[in-house]
Every structure is written in structure tokens, then in C-alpha cells.
Amino acid sequence: MARPRIAVHKFSSCDGCQLAFLNLGEALLELSEQVEILHFLEAGMNDPATPVDIAFVEGSLSTPDELERIQQVRANSRYLVTLGACATSGGLQALRNLEGRHDEWRDAIYAQPEYIQTLKEVRPIASAVKVDLELWGCPVNSDQVLAAVRALLFGVSPVDDRDRVCLECKRQQAVCVMVTQGRPCMGPVTRTGCGALCPRFGRDCYGCFGPSETAQTDTLAQRFAGLGLVPDAIARRFLMINSQAPAFLQTGRVFFHTPAGDQDD
């Protein structure tokens, strides 16, 4: 059987999700026996226009050029997988969408703003092309990526685990930081996948895997208020790594730039 052909493309990002491949250790060599990696700049493969079975896309769309390039990627791939928060929800850099002050920022920053070609808003990949599978996480981890590759090799879609971090937190037997320390933990509304890292390290989850199923964000926001967070601090909890994910955006906006007192709690 011919090995499936894969490509890893980079858009606006920190390169961290690609490391889910490069940090595989010896499994990287095993992976390269199972699949044929045709395009992956950081690993040295350069053939962006070649047709592949699976294209992994890291990063969000933030320039007109990227908008064009993603069309080409889509056209050349049978199955398109977004890799991480940037590609899936816009990522941290999509915070700039909130202020709506892109032009102002750009003009303030660059001596020759005419050379700077950026979109007014940072967009997730799915806003431009059809995405077959979304891998959440900032960053995605190697287990997620391997599970996805393995499932695709079997010819099935990977399991989409939308459970919340709290479930995994208890499976890991971590002690709840909200209950014992009053920390504003995002675990109750955040998708599992990291193994409940933050609570295991004695700190609150900051939502880097995006919203879980039935994310009770408004309820949690009220709880944060009860823990003493002022509205803007509540907003910052939701408007962080996955600020553009609808469930987080909606609740975050309610509290965003609201002076304390304006918000009934």
C-alpha cells in the first residue's frame, strides 16, 4: 500500500504546533515510515504545491497572501487538519480583532505602513476553506497529532473529545484550585486534551484548548465575579488564547472594558 502523503503548512503562528512533529523523538522516524512527508519547511521538505492526502495547517490567516495560499493548500489536499489554536480559532494574535484598531496600530508601528500587508482581522482557517478536522490546543501535543494520523491511516475520522478539563483533572487526581485556592479556573468550560496540566501544577487553567461541549461560560463568569474578579479581569479570562471561539467571545464581550460596578453580579 502506498504511504499516505502529508504536508505541514505554516501560516501566522509561533511554530510551536509543528513541534508536535519535531518533538516526537524516535517516533518521528517511525512516522516517516508510515507516511511520506512532502512539505514541511522546518523539517527541510519544500514542495508546497504538491497534492497530498493530509495537509496539517498551523497558524491563522492574517495577510492577503495567506488568504490565497490557503486556497492552494485546500485545493491540493484531500483532508485538511488544523493544528492548534491559531489555525482553529485565530489564536492569541486574534486578540487584535477585539480592539478593531488594526490600521491605527500598524500605522503607529511601521515607518512605511504601505509595505505592511495585513488583514484587519486575524481569521481561523475554517473562515476561508473547508476544514475536515480541528485539533485544538495552544500548542497541540504529540499524542493528539499521532492519534489523528493513526485514525486517518485506518481510514476513519479521529475521535473528537469535547469533554471538559475538569473530568480529566479528577482522573489525574489533581486537587481543584478553584475550591482550595479560589483561583479562577477555566477548566469547567475548556476542552480536555492537555491532561489537565495547569491544575496538576497547582494553577488555574487559562483555556488554551478552547471551549468544551456545552460550555457554561456565563455561569462560570458569575462564579469568577463571586471570587472577586472585576469585570475586565473576567473578560481577560475568556479573551485570551481562544478569544474568537464563539462561546468565549460571547461571554468575554459582556465584561470587556466594563468598569467595575457596571456589571451586575
Binding site: 493513526r150 485514525a151 485506518f154 476513519v156 475520522s157 475521535v159
Partner: protein, 280 residues
């Protein structure tokens, strides 16, 4: 102790495409020590496992025999999601895992020498096929066979040829109802309960096997009771998410019952006051 969680290997002897998305697998349990698993009854089910992908509950359909007289286990599957599609991709000669039999089947003993009334609804109902096949295979043990099938839209009727075939059999009534019927639909358009009203039932000697969406089963049962069928002669096949199939994982709870262990086939009186409760 025998571990109910551990599957055994099954060879796919044959794969029959029944409709566009329904297929039947004919299986051989390759380990003879596992042949006790063939003591499976209509209404019971097995967990079928596709290597590396997962397991799903699938009703027993029939046991047939190959040329050598060896038992062949049949399951009919509709490919809808992850695991069922992965099973659909397999070809004869492939292997799957299988564990079971699980659950309570149709009350076959009790049904003997009675009329059978099989009421099904929705997109094809596998547990009902097994009892119908069983009844035709042991035709002399049963009286009249009524088969009623209801669908939302006439285009939803799967396996039409099968119903047409049954309709030709002696001492058999087959009736179809579609809530919405396209032109040319030869059968009734309306609700299943309306069809039940028209059935020439002999309530005192009829055993009802019902399978389909819960509201439809509930309405049918109530209609049958109105037609004097004793409540305990009405049996329903229930469906819930199942992971372990052995009454442990909690997913198939229905009030105080585990559908996988106490069902899937259960008498109506046991279910009556819980059917229709939202979220149960």
C-alpha cells in the same frame, strides 16, 4: 472468571450490501472454544470491534450454515458513524473482534403458537429483523405474522424489497405507513398508530415486538392496549449509548435498569412510567 470485556476473533466470510448504507456481515468465530457465543437469541446483541477503531452494539440477526455445515453468524449493520463506517469498509477475509451475547432477547418461548405482531419505526430496525427471520425460519411455531413499519418520509424506507418479499408469504400481513408520502407510495400515509387500528388483531393471542423511536413505541403500545392487547404481551427493544455492554459503564441507564443487561428487549409494563420522560 470469564471476562465479559474481552473480545474474540471473528472472520468475515461474506459481506452483503443490502442497500446503499446497510450491509450484512457473515462471520465465523475462529476459535472453537468460543462457539458457546453462538447460543444467541433474536433481540440479543454482540459488541463488534474494528481493530484500532472501537466497538459498537449490533443486534443478532441470524445464524446460518455454510456448505460444510459450519455455523455462520450474521449481523446487519447500517453505516452511520465512525465505527460502523469502519466496519463497512472491511472485505471478506478481514477479521473483527466480537464479544457477547449480551442482554435479554425477545420472549420466543412465550410467543410460540401465538400471532406475532412486529411493529417497527424509523430507519430500519435491526432487532426486529431477527425476530421476523426467526419466525419465518420456524414458521410452524407461530400463527399469523403482522409486520408494520412506519417511516417519517416514504423515501426513508430502507430495504423495501425485504418487506415486499415478506408480504408475499402466506399468513402474513405487511403494512407500511409514511408520515409524508411521495407520489406513487403504494401504502398508507399517516401514522403507524392508524395502521395498528386497522389490524385484524386477536389481542388475547398476540405477542407484540416493537422497535423504533421511543415516542412511536409508546404511542403504538398505548394503541395496542386500547385494542385489548395485554400490556405484558407488548415487548419493546430499547436503545442507549453502550460502552461495556455488561451493566457497568452506566451509559445505558434507563431509570433503574441497564438497557444492555436488563434489556434491550423489555416488557412494556416495566417501561411504561418512564417512557416519554424527557432526559431519562
Amino acid at each position: 472468571m470469564n471476562n465479559p470485556a474481552l473480545p474474540t476473533n471473528a472472520l468475515i466470510l461474506n459481506r452483503i450490501q443490502e442497500t446503499e448504507d446497510i450491509f450484512t456481515l457473515q462471520l465465523r468465530l475462529t476459535d472453537p472454544r468460543q462457539h458457546w457465543r453462538l447460543e444467541i437469541q433474536p433481540g440479543q446483541f454482540n459488541m463488534l470491534y474494528r481493530f484500532g477503531v472501537g466497538e459498537i452494539p449490533i443486534s443478532f440477526k441470524a445464524i446460518s450454515q455454510d456448505e460444510a455445515g459450519e455455523p455462520v453468524l450474521e449481523h446487519t449493520i447500517r453505516s452511520v458513524g465512525r465505527v460502523s463506517r469502519a466496519l463497512a469498509d472491511l472485505k471478506p477475509g478481514s477479521h473483527i473482534g466480537l464479544r457477547g451475547p449480551f442482554g435479554q432477547g425477545w420472549p420466543l418461548r412465550r410467543a410460540e403458537h401465538q400471532d406475532l405482531c412486529v411493529v417497527t419505526g424509523g430507519l430500519g430496525c435491526a432487532p426486529a429483523v431477527s425476530i421476523i427471520e426467526h419466525a419465518f425460519a420456524n414458521r410452524d411455531r407461530y400463527g399469523h405474522i403482522h409486520i408494520i413499519q412506519g417511516v417519517k418520509h416514504s423515501a426513508d424506507l430502507l430495504w423495501r424489497s425485504r418487506y415486499e418479499f415478506w408480504a408475499q408469504q402466506p399468513d402474513t400481513t405487511v403494512m407500511m405507513a409514511a408520515d409524508v408520502a411521495a407520489p406513487g407510495w403504494p401504502w398508507y400515509s399517516g401514522r403507524v398508530t392508524e395502521l395498528i387500528k386497522r389490524l385484524p388483531l386477536k389481542p388475547e393471542r398476540t405477542l407484540v415486538c416493537c422497535c423504533g423511536p421511543e415516542p412511536m413505541m409508546q404511542a403504538s403500545a398505548e394503541q395496542l392496549i386500547r385494542q385489548q392487547v395485554p400490556p405484558d404481551a407488548i415487548w419493546l427493544s430499547m436503545e442507549r449509548n453502550m460502552q461495556c455492554a455488561s451493566g457497568h459503564c452506566g451509559h445505558c441507564q434507563f431509570g433503574a435498569d441497564f438497557i444492555c443487561r436488563d434489556g434491550p428487549v423489555m416488557p412494556y409494563p416495566r417501561l411504561r412510567d418512564r417512557l416519554g420522560l424527557e432526559g431519562i
